[in-house]
Amino acid sequence: MSPADQDLGDSFPQYEAPPPGHVSGSRLERVLRAGKFAVTAELNPPDSADPADVLEAARPLGEVADAINATDASGANCHMSSIGISSLLTRAGYGTVYQISCRDRNRIAIQGDVLGAAAMGVRNVLCLTGDGVGVGDQPGAKPVFDFDSLSLLRTIRTMRDEGLFLSGRKITRPPRMFLGAAENPCVPPHEWRPERLAKKVDAGADFIQTNYIFDLPVFERFMARLRDLGVDRRVFLLAGVGPLASAKAARWMRSNVPGIHIPDAVIERMEKAAKPAAEGKRICVELIQQIREIKGVSGIHVMAYRREHQVSEIILESGVLKGRVPQRRRSARPRPAPV
């Protein structure tokens, strides 16, 4: 018997048409289209080739997140690849957001990877430009940037909706993916950020995950402008949040990680706190509760780098799930989980 004739088993992903009114078979898409407040969380990728390390990192997030983001060498630091992590997570029954950065791969590699990921059961993809190589652990690497995040979005949308590669060659079974993009509302040029987001929606974005929001007034102005443009009705926006560990860590992040804006007031509050970690968590919960009230926000995206153990508590304390249990680990054949 040749390998192709063998039954591939229950843990193997299947090619399925999306439910009516949906572009993908993604659980995250179902939650968002059902009008529920969605939660996604970022996984800290292991520097290891052991799948158990991925599952261990996913466990504290899976309890509360509708999908887990697999980062693609964020900060230009080398870790296990996002396609590898996403594939493992889908096999374990988790919804996953496969992040693609334009920094490291050209259009040939990326379009092939998208098909590969879709075949592995990945249903959400987040299209990112990517941090410059200079901030990472291997600054001598060649920056690729063949696509930018928008041409990448348009490319995957063309693959999905037209069934074509960018070359015009036909794809027999198109990748059914829910398309995501990022936005950073709190960094310059502030007045143009909403316009840029609108452009990403035109390019094909179905959902947006933002960078960290620590500055609520700036974010509220951003959202007001989005509502004026009518963009909030065309896309699902998940606001990015995360717990700070200490005032020192916050300062370090602000000056060393690209695109992070933390107001002085937040750092001061961390400084005055007797237990900084607990205060960081409290700030995060408060932010979630305030962000939830803003019109046009469909969910939150938690980035708790090295504080993954706090994610579950933060989400439960914030009350955004309202008793909903997002992830059901499947035991046998893949089956759409109840929303």
Binding site: S151, A182, N184, P188, K199, P258
Partner: protein, 192 residues
């Protein structure tokens, strides 16, 4: 030159006006270019284009110029060569994530676009760069393209009748011809 580049963005409207004139001239010259041979004019035009645009815009001769859609701020100067807007790493004050001493190319672009008549073009999603066209003249590419579009429009007008009566053309080809008529086949009095 960085300072000239900033100057170009500050005067984006003037450069927009100037480029439109140039484009019209190039389209007008297209029949001449065609007669000489586009292949033969490529090198000298590209040389002039490179000289002018590298001075003014720090042009990298990508061959697919989009300055009119980017506020006269060349996106090839972005270290990530983004074609559709700034990345999420822009520093306070609008400085570049990768080159902190440089203003973000896209913060400038949006700024320049607000001063331009056709500034709204910055909202269009642009395709990725075709690296095979690097070093070639974008001016010639535009004029060839626009001249071809004009020819196509004229052709559409001329063949409208033939396309409106496809069956007639099929059975009686002389009633609705698609082919070009030689001058002597047409009565000069009627046409005048």
């Amino acid at each position: 030159m960085y300072r000239l580049r900033l100057f170009a963005v500050r005067h984006s409207r003037g450069f927009e006006w100037l480029y439109r004139r140039l484009e019209r001239l190039m389209i007008g010259l297209d029949p001449l270019f065609a007669r000489i041979g586009h292949d033969r004019v490529e090198a000298p035009v590209a040389l002039i284009e490179r000289g002018v645009k590298s001075l003014l815009f720090d042009c990298r001769m990508c061959g697919q110029c989009v300055l009119s859609s980017t506020g006269m701020s060349c996106p090839m100067n972005c270290p990530k060569q983004l074609r559709n807007g700034p990345c999420g790493g822009v520093r306070p004050g609008g400085f570049c994530e990768v080159k902190p001493a440089m203003r973000c190319v896209w913060a400038l672009a949006w700024d320049g676009a607000t001063r331009m008549e056709d500034g709204a073009r910055i909202r269009e999603v642009l395709p990725p760069v075709d690296h095979g066209l690097k070093g070639s003249s974008s001016w010639l590419r535009v004029s060839r393209e626009k001249a071809a579009a004009l020819r196509e429009a004229r052709e559409a007008e001329r063949t409208a009748l033939a396309r409106a009566f496809p069956a007639a053309r099929e059975i009686e080809p002389a009633t609705a011809p698609l082919a070009e008529e030689p001058p002597r086949a047409v009565s000069q009095e009627v046409r005048k």
